[in-house]
Symmetry: C2
């Protein structure tokens, strides 16, 4: 996996797993790949995976069962809530950054629309 060297890898792993949960690739209650397997898949060290999982466990978004594995929480509201939180986080950061670049609210929306339109022409 490719990582942005401006952000800690463990943090990017968290987001990677979040995304898999949001897109349903990891359903509620489902077992995550073993930590050693994740380490291989992501080409990182077990400890780095563990650090990411450790925070997610603290957040209550996954649960750990020694000898069995790590599992996505079955409390779906928790997942929904996390998704809302992640979306708001992205919107807030993007808005503030663009606002700081001296763009008005209208310009921000317009530039996003234009970006998406432009992007649609090419690929994806």
């Amino acid at each position: 996996m490719k990582f942005d060297d401006k952000v800690p890898i463990y943090y990017q792993i968290k987001n990677h797993l979040y995304h898999e949960m949001m897109t349903g690739q990891l359903a509620p209650g489902e077992k995550l790949p073993a930590v050693r397997q994740l380490a291989v898949d992501l080409t990182v060290n077990v400890n780095t995976v563990q650090r990411a999982l450790g925070e997610m466990i603290t957040e209550g978004i996954i649960t750990s069962q020694r000898g069995k594995g790590n599992f996505v929480t079955t409390e779906t509201p928790r997942i929904t809530q996390l998704k809302e939180h992640l979306i708001m986080e992205q919107l807030e950061r993007a808005y503030e950054q663009l606002h700081a670049l001296n763009l008005s609210d209208e310009e921000i929306i317009a530039s996003l629309k234009q970006y998406i339109a432009q992007r649609g022409q090419q690929d994806d």
Copy 2:
């Protein structure tokens, strides 16, 4: 100044200065505060400031004159170009993140509009 400990400080300083240039707080040709003064203002080390400035000099967005100071480039097209680049960077990152959270193009635009509307009700 407050820094996000997920990103290198020198990188955040670059963005900080970029923003000041975009909003006109730092006009083309204008002299930047002395490196030692910047270090005090931002409560960081001179070398950290220097690292940020060094990259900006390499990028040609500021010029350095030993004994005099650092100055914003007078080549305004360069600044305009940088602004476009920074905007695109933000849009791309936000779009990709939201897209990864399973939001469609329409949902992305709608959620941004909603966020801005909601924000307008409160303050700023």
